[in-house]
């Protein structure tokens, strides 16, 4: 690697103060530190040695935790396509078709977000932050494979600018950046991210008779409207394209229509295991998030004003984006609650809100997105009270 190091050292003066490309220093820095950990040493006073971790390693851990979802998502895009058009093909073909559709979305998200990051880094003279490695991967996983690429680009740009850079960049943002991208798409281009027609890629082919393309959630929602029991609606729905397409097992493993990365609860759980084992994601948020969803599901069961509310509570855990949202979106350390006690409440409320929004929102059966964004806004309030309790303890002590 010496030639690479030599090459970098040769270019360095150009980017340093007084150099020709002085303004682009942080672009150079991003490239340099990506390839080589810097030769910085600790200061005169204070900690003379440092822990082996850095932000890059922490962020890449999240990206790795997302890989199972990505790989399964790629496969499932192909799987759903061939199911819908009624063709039987092998694993390879399904995966290749998925790759053809998903890879461009990933590339566009990284490119669009990366350019915005770079522009802000140059203008504001701050280093390019590695949090973007995660954002660029999260955005593609929460959109359907049929999403037009320009919309993906626009949403990513919007999210990075409005949800992050206007607040001062990584670490200062209030809202989860990837969820903001999805919310932007949902409100700006609802036709491409809601309804029954967008979740399955059909291409030039026509779907088999009886194909509806609905997600499990919209089937459940429809059942609630028509008064049919959700479980029997799920069982009978789309019987023509797959035996028991919406069986509980299929929903758990993820062989159902939906956004690229969010259909498989199993893959999300594998990601959760990676995040928890590495300590990068908060297990408290993950556990309380799932618990909140389940508890509110049970509460809804108790009231059961319609069939959707009467749906078995554990169905909520495997339908839609709940698992993905709780594991990867709610645990974003910057926008989540930052105190340990707060994290319990934060996760729990996300779970509660998700189910409430699902079963009471007349327009859109998915709730995790709005629940996370809403709780992002309330997280500082939760922390405020946790910290206030600490201050109060301190103050009480003073009078003793």
């Amino acid at each position: 690697m010496k030639f690479l190091r030599d090459l970098l050292d040769k270019q360095k003066p150009l980017f340093q103060k007084g150099g020709k490309f002085e303004n682009l220093y942080y672009l150079y820095e991003a490239g340099e530190t990506f390839m080589f950990s810097p030769n910085h040493t600790t200061g005169i006073k204070g900690a003379q040695v440092k822990d082996a971790i850095d932000l890059k390693r922490m962020m890449i851990t999240v990206v790795v935790a997302l890989l199972p979802c990505l790989l399964f998502g790629i496969y499932n895009v192909g799987e759903q396509h061939y199911l819908a058009v009624g063709e039987a093909v092998g694993f390879g073909e399904k995966f290749l078709l998925g790759l053809k559709l998903v890879l461009p979305i990933v590339i566009v998200a990284y490119a669009a977000g990366g350019i915005v990051e770079a522009i802000f880094a140059v203008i504001r003279k701050h280093p390019i932050n590695e949090g973007f490695l995660v954002t660029g991967m999260l955005v593609p996983l929460v959109v359907p494979a049929s999403m037009p690429l320009w919309q993906v680009a626009l949403a990513t740009i919007f999210a990075v600018v409005i949800a992050k850079e206007v607040f001062g960049g990584t670490g200062m943002n209030i809202l989860n950046v990837a969820m903001t991208a999805r919310a932007f798409l949902y409100f700006a281009y609802p036709a491409q991210i809601s309804g029954d027609q967008v979740w399955t890629y059909l291409g030039e082919k026509t779907a088999v008779d009886g194909f509806s393309g609905a997600t499990a959630l919209s089937v459940a929602y429809g059942a609630g409207q028509s008064g049919e029991a959700v479980t029997s609606a799920l069982a009978s729905h789309n019987a023509s394209i797959g035996d028991q397409l919406y069986s509980f097992a299929n929903m758990f493993f993820g062989f159902i229509p939906g956004s690229i990365g969010e259909t498989s609860t199993l893959m999300c759980l594998i990601g959760a295991l990676i995040l928890i084992a590495t300590g990068v994601g908060s297990w408290k948020i993950i556990v309380s998030g799932f618990a909140g969803t389940y508890i509110m599901g049970l509460i809804m069961n108790a009231f059961a004003a319609n069939e959707f509310m009467a749906m078995p509570a554990h169905y909520h855990l495997v339908m839609g984006g709940v698992a993905f949202g709780i594991v990867f979106m709610a645990t974003d350390p910057v926008s989540a609650s930052q105190t340990e006690k707060g994290k319990w409440l934060y996760g729990l409320l996300i779970g509660f809100l998700t189910v409430i929004i699902r079963v009471t929102n007349p327009a859109y059966p998915e709730g995790i997105m709005l629940a996370v964004l809403l709780m992002n806004v309330f997280a500082p309030l939760i922390d405020y009270y946790v910290v206030k309790a600490n201050k109060k303890r301190r103050l009480q002590r003073a009078t003793v």
Partner: protein
């Protein structure tokens, strides 16, 4: 009532190069220095000697115009060879070329029975004149104590839990008599108690075995269990407006010796530690000794760093630099000024980490001793990770919120979040484990100064 406090939070940084429990003779240092920069919060140091003057051990050579009664004494007898100043004539070092045979200033000598009848005023006066007062540190702020205060209690941490820390059993061997005498004097300085805090997880050093008249508490757990700040937090926390004093066991011995023998004895045993040390052993020397004789021919390579103190709170000094006033340890580390290809992604089991993010495998070998160099292992970034600082801070404090309050210069928040309870060393582990590589200890001191001088 003595207490047993079990701490779970914290982190032991296990390093190679612990000093063997034997004291070896090294060539004696020729020069010694008092560095005003060792005394945090010293504002206007004033030198009372000139270059060329001769001094005895115990001769006052320095005082702070803000606290004139506290005298800082020469550790050895000899000639003042240099008064080194830096930018804006900031006083950096007063160097003394030592005599072969040390001669001492003669202070009043007390018998053990005399000590009992000493009043507080007499005791304070003796400690101030004898040059041992700077050993007493006050909380909050972690600065040299003001003799006019009446502290609510005096806290003594009887052990050091820092990485590669020396064993007080070795440092204070045979000083039992002076230690007890020191405690007897200190008792006169406070209307409250004296807390002597010992390590539950190891044997009681002989020096503490027979102590009387103090409250002995036990602490158990990983570092920072030995930090006196953490101990105060669990025994009798400091609130706004209160003052407590702390003193190192070595300081207690120095106090005892001054009164029983009538001399300012600055001799001390220090530990030579660190992975670069060929012979990691204990050595006899004096406060402020030049470390060159301890380092020369005692390192494994040429490219190393000498740290006065430990790796968490120490200070980098030159290879012929001077031991810090409060330090009982030097640490020799490899310098880490190298690039590492894909250093942030490579799996590694040879670099210590508190975290377990991808590829950080050190947690698999919890008892392994690591070699750490001075590389920062990454660049400074925004605060992102949450909840980890709390895991290494065994206090009811929110470090991130406190640090942010300091950065925002929000005085009320700082007070309410506990700035009075900490000094740099209490959050030093946060600086070590910080993903975003912030200078946590600098920030803490900045906050303390804001509160102290506002």
């Amino acid at each position: 009532m003595s207490k047993l406090v079990k701490l779970k939070k914290g982190f032991d940084i296990k390093l190679e190069g612990k000093a063997e429990k034997k004291t070896e003779a090294f060539q004696p240092a020729q020069t010694f220095a008092i560095k005003p920069t060792d005394f945090v919060g010293m504002q206007r140091p004033k030198v009372t000697v000139k270059e060329g003057d001769t001094v005895k051990a115990g001769t006052p050579i320095l005082f702070d115009k803000k606290l004139e009664s506290v005298l800082y004494a020469a550790p050895v007898s000899g000639e003042i060879v240099e008064i080194k100043r830096g930018e804006k004539r900031k006083l950096l070092e007063i160097k003394i070329m030592a005599d072969k045979e040390i001669s001492y200033e003669a202070f009043t000598k007390f018998s053990e029975s005399d000590l009992k009848s000493l009043t507080k005023e007499q005791a304070v006066d003796a400690l101030l004149k004898g040059g041992v007062w700077p050993q007493i540190i006050q909380r909050p702020y972690g600065v040299v104590a003001n003799p006019e205060d009446d502290p609510k209690a005096i806290f003594i941490s009887g052990f050091d839990s820092h990485p590669l820390a020396p064993d007080y059993g070795v440092l204070l061997k045979g000083q039992e008599k002076y230690f007890q005498a020191g405690l007897n004097i200190l008792k006169k300085l406070t209307s409250g108690k004296i807390h002597l805090n010992l390590d539950q997880d190891s044997e009681v050093s002989p020096v503490y075995a027979g102590v009387q008249g103090v409250e002995v508490n036990k602490f158990s757990g990983p570092h920072p269990a030995g930090n006196v700040g953490v101990q105060i937090h669990h025994l009798n926390p400091i609130n706004k407006g209160e003052v407590a004093w702390t003193i190192n066991p070595y300081g207690v011995v120095q106090v005892g010796k001054l009164l029983l023998e009538g001399i300012y004895d600055a001799s001390k045993v220090i530990a030579i530690t660190g992975s670069e040390a060929k012979k990691a052993v204990y050595a006899k020397t004096y406060q402020g000794a030049c470390v060159d004789k301890l380092v020369v021919d005692n390192t494994k390579s040429d490219h190393f760093r000498v740290v006065s103190g430990n790796v968490l709170t120490g200070e980098k000094i030159n290879h012929d630099g001077y031991l810090g006033y409060y330090d009982h340890q030097i640490t020799l580390l490899p310098e880490g000024d190298y690039y590492e290809f894909m250093g942030w992604a490579k799996p590694t089991s040879s670099k210590l980490s508190f975290h377990r993010a991808l590829g950080l495998l050190s947690f698999l070998s919890p008892s392994k001793e690591f070699v750490l160099d001075t590389n920062t292992r990454g660049e400074e970034r925004a605060f992102v990770q949450t909840g980890v600082f709390e895991q290494v801070t065994p206090m009811d404090i929110f470090p991130i919120y406190l640090l942010k309050a300091i950065m925002a210069e929000d005085f009320d928040e700082m007070e309410e979040l506990g700035i009075y309870e900490i000094i740099e060393e209490d959050l030093a582990l946060c600086e070590f484990i910080d993903v975003s590589k912030h200078p946590v200890q600098d920030i803490v001191r900045k906050g303390i100064e804001l509160i102290q001088y506002s």
